[in-house]
């Protein structure tokens, strides 16, 4: 079930909220979390009933392994941790990568050991990472093992189950354990509703509008067409904005729904295209995945490699290469293939790896040359850095969206002018034809660069965990905030209605549901 479906908006969400608070605010409160778990099971089964046993089995197994880690001697606990991590990764690899890997091996060795293509279990990438994080935190002693009910409610909390944010048990379990306070409920519903309305508008009105143009261009390239330069660049920037508003909208909606239940989720998206470098962009785009990779992949790699560089007395450049660039590249490759078993995702990861390494090397170069930092604060430098970052992302969005490398190649060829110019031969069926896209792109980028994001608008609501860290970051050139006034309520109501009614146009599935 998707947040942008009528069933969710008019059936599942109001029903679940009503019963949840009916239980939570009465003597029946011990039933509130079991009810939430049952509803999440229904929510998941609606889209992916076949993989429900896998989800429930995974949660149960991870809970038990977590208990074993907490109760065992450290030397034994380590083995439990390894078992848990390997089992989680093995399941992820089996469902997500085994068919593609078997195909590759079959092609390479000339023997047929291909596995049948399986449907990807919904949300597997998200709940697997969440549970690995939980096991590692238990082993590191950062958390105590939670009660089974709280652990199940944490993993099976439907607002974050399908596409994140990838929250940590130490963030969510204490909140879930706490019984809601009656006088806070109306405010939580209000704040959650506002965030949800803003997210829905981004998804159905903006992201889905870009999909009208980008879909036909990518489809045409997939079937062998050679898009012109204008079409290929239009597809790159159009898809960049589509996925931006799609994921940003989803994250706002997830945070909003959780808030309606009185819970704060971690921030997942914070105006990444206002970043002045790719490194900064990845701190603001899919923030919780970046945090996971940083905590559980990059740091465990970088720290021993840095020690290795010191021990071996490597030169500056070699130390930089070993301790910073290599783990950075590897982390970005992992982020790339986390999206799926495809060469295109690997290329996407590799491109971002190269961007990041270049970024790191340049920062190092400036540091050594003692280049003036205040120069970076000049408006035109900030603007060019921001535009260059967006451009870099847009170019890498081509392999991200393409189903295969030949499609990527045809679009890249178009972008460098090998397929000729021209406007009207675009394969677009959309009203306004090809001419509609570029004005829409301009409007979309103005929206991104000039306006505050949903969290900034809802600053007074403290919209996410660790908001204090973010609230002063990068104020938008045109800044405004929600206020508790009737005018604002009416405006939010209008935004909500437009977001809902645009579902009727034919809304697409959230991009991140595919991962």
């Amino acid at each position: 079930m998707s947040f942008n479906s009528e069933l969710f908006l008019f059936g599942f969400l109001p029903f679940t909220l009503a019963i949840y608070y009916l239980l939570a605010l009465t003597r029946l409160h011990p039933l509130r979390l079991p009810f939430l778990i049952v509803m999440t099971i229904g929510f998941y089964a609606r889209s992916s009933v076949h993989y429900l046993p896998l989800l429930l089995g995974s949660v149960l197994a991870n809970y038990l392994i977590g208990v074993a880690i907490a109760r065992s001697e450290r030397s034994v606990a380590k083995w439990w941790l390894w078992l848990g991590v390997i089992a989680n990764l093995a399941i992820l690899v089996w469902y997500k990568y085994a068919p593609a890997m078997s195909q590759g091996v079959s092609d390479a060795l000339g023997i047929d050991i291909r596995l049948a293509q399986m449907a990807l279990p919904l949300a597997i990438s998200f709940y697997t990472f969440q549970q690995i994080g939980h096991l590692v935190d238990l082993w590191r002693g950062r958390i105590e093992p939670p009660k089974a009910l709280h652990y199940f409610a944490f993993i099976l909390f439907f607002p974050q189950l399908l596409s994140g944010p990838i929250s940590l048990s130490r963030e969510m379990v204490p909140q879930l354990a706490e019984r809601p306070i009656a006088r806070k409920v109306p405010a939580d519903l209000l704040f959650g509703l506002c965030l949800f309305a803003l997210g829905l508008f981004k998804k159905t009105v903006i992201a889905d509008s870009f999909a009208l143009w980008t879909g036909p261009i990518f489809t045409a390239a997939t079937t062998g067409a050679h898009p012109t330069a204008a079409a290929a660049w239009g597809a790159a920037f159009g898809y960049t904005l589509q996925i931006y508003f799609d994921f940003s909208g989803y994250s706002d909606m997830a945070i909003g729904v959780a808030r309606m239940f009185g819970l704060l989720l971690p921030l997942n998206f914070f105006s990444p295209f206002r970043s002045r470098s790719v490194v900064e962009l990845w701190r603001r785009w899919h923030i919780t995945l970046g945090r996971f990779v940083q905590t559980y992949i990059f740091s465990p790699l970088a720290v021993p490699l840095a020690r290795f560089a010191v021990d071996r007395d490597l030169g500056e450049k070699s130390a930089m290469l070993v301790a910073t660039l290599a783990p950075t590249m590897l982390s970005m490759l992992i982020i790339g293939v986390w999206h799926g078993a495809s060469w295109t995702f690997l290329l996407f990861g590799a491109m971002h790896g190269v961007y990041m390494c270049t970024n790191e090397a340049w920062a190092d170069f400036k540091r050594k040359r003692k280049m003036r930092k205040d120069a970076d604060h000049h408006a035109w430098r900030r603007l060019t850095a921001m535009l260059a970052t967006t451009l870099a992302f847009a170019v890498a969005s081509i392999p991200f969206r393409s189903p295969d490398l030949p499609t990527t190649g045809r679009l890249f060829a178009g972008m460098i002018g090998l397929n000729g110019g021209g406007w009207e031969q675009w394969p677009v069926l959309t009203p306004l034809g090809a001419w509609g896209l570029y004005p829409l792109l301009i409007a979309g980028f103005l929206f991104v660069y000039l306006l505050p994001n949903a969290q900034q608008i809802m600053d007074k609501a403290v919209p996410a965990l660790e908001w204090a860290k973010w609230r002063k970051t990068d104020r938008a050139p045109i800044a405004f905030e929600w206020r508790p006034s009737l005018l604002w309520s009416i405006a939010i109501g209008a935004v909500f209605l437009i977001g809902m009614t645009f579902i009727a146009r034919g809304t697409t599935q959230f991009v991140y549901f595919n991962f």
Binding site: R170, P174, P431, L432, K460, A461, L486, L497
Partner: protein, 358 residues
């Protein structure tokens, strides 16, 4: 428990429950005001009926133009799903019935793909409220459908959509949500009609190009050939049907609903058609062209018989050479159907005339 519990939102604006509820009510007011403002935007029905362009419903524009811009009389309108579209050879039926009655009779085929009596109601409404020459409406008769027609939410009028039965109508909310959207879309399209490939004025060339007989092969709006000359391969087609029947489970809740609730859309709009037809002194009949080798029957035949006669072409349905696929007749099939159907139409028109004379 965790060593460092996640902190609650200490700086969140403290709102009293009463204030928060008032603001939530404000959101609902904003929602209603916005909906009202959008619905107040004018709709050009000609643009509305051009929304099918580029889709399988591309003939909807021709239907509208035939009703409103073509003065040629319409004596009989055949209205229904793709089964009707593929079955009624309107030009030949017109010629045969005219010959039988000794005067010109004009028959039109207003069949459109997909099931849904609500769209048939929309076409009937356009037709009977605009023209007084119609004598008979022939609706497609097939087992009662549960769903709303996917084109209804764009072609139906606001009141029909809002006033549709709610139980059991799985498409009610989706259809209702479309109303403000389409007002906005049609309004914006009206500002720049050419940019949206819409015709502000009737174009005889477009009308003429779309006025073909859909029982003959034609190119659909998506460029695919709808081939009425081919005969299906029964083995493949039946295997496809078996596979399709195996998918999904029957909707159990329907069993517990009364027939008026179970087939709410079908029955409500059939009644509306009957009422409007009665008001305009137009007769209604049902034509059931059976699919190939299908055990097809009405759950409640008497409901339809109370509205008008049911003509069932059960002589067809057994020879795969008569079908282009499981559900649709090909040219060979319609060649067999046409004289039989012309007989029924002529008899009914003669009966109506005699009633009129009396």
């Amino acid at each position: 428990m965790a060593k460092k519990p996640a902190s609650p939102p200490p700086e969140a604006l403290a709102l009293s429950p009463a204030t928060a509820w008032r603001l939530i009510a404000g959101i609902l007011v904003g929602l209603a005001l916005c909906a009202a403002a959008l619905v107040a935007l004018p709709v050009n029905t000609y643009y509305q009926w051009q929304q099918g362009d580029g889709t399988i419903l591309f003939r909807s524009r021709w239907i509208y133009e035939r009703i409103h811009f073509d003065p040629t009389p319409i004596d009989v309108a055949m209205i229904g799903s793709s089964r009707m579209e593929a079955s009624a050879r309107a030009p030949e039926l017109s010629a045969l019935v005219s010959a039988k009655l000794g005067r010109p009779v004009h028959i039109v085929n207003f069949g459109l793909p997909e099931e849904g009596r609500d769209l048939h109601w929309t076409i009937v409404r356009q037709l009977l409220n605009s023209r007084s020459d119609v004598k008979l409406i022939v609706l497609s008769g097939s087992p009662e459908a549960v769903i709303s027609h996917p084109g209804f939410r764009f072609l139906g009028n606001d009141a029909s959509i809002a006033g549709a039965p709610v139980i059991y109508n799985p498409n009610y909310v989706e259809n209702l949500l479309t109303v403000p959207y389409r007002h906005l879309a049609f309004f914006l399209q009206g500002l720049w009609p050419y940019a949206f490939q819409l015709s502000p004025r009737f174009d005889p060339a477009i009308y003429s190009a779309r006025g073909f007989d859909p029982t003959q092969s034609f190119l659909s709006a998506d460029g695919n050939l709808v081939d009425r000359t081919k005969a299906m391969d029964p083995a493949t087609a039946l295997a496809e049907r078996a596979a399709a029947n195996g998918k999904g489970s029957p909707d159990i809740k329907l069993k517990y609903l009364t027939l008026d609730r179970r087939y709410a859309v079908e029955r409500a709009y059939s009644r509306r058609i009957a009422a409007l037809a009665g008001e305009k002194h137009v007769a209604v009949a049902f034509l059931r062209v059976p699919p190939f080798e299908a055990d097809e029957h009405f759950t409640d035949r008497s409901f339809f018989e109370a509205i008008g006669p049911i003509w069932e072409a059960d002589q067809l349905g057994h020879d795969p050479l008569d079908y282009s696929d499981l559900a649709h007749l090909n040219r060979r099939g319609t060649a067999l159907l046409t004289p039989w159907l012309a007989e029924r139409l002529a008899e009914e028109l003669a009966r109506l005339e005699s009633l009129h004379v009396q």
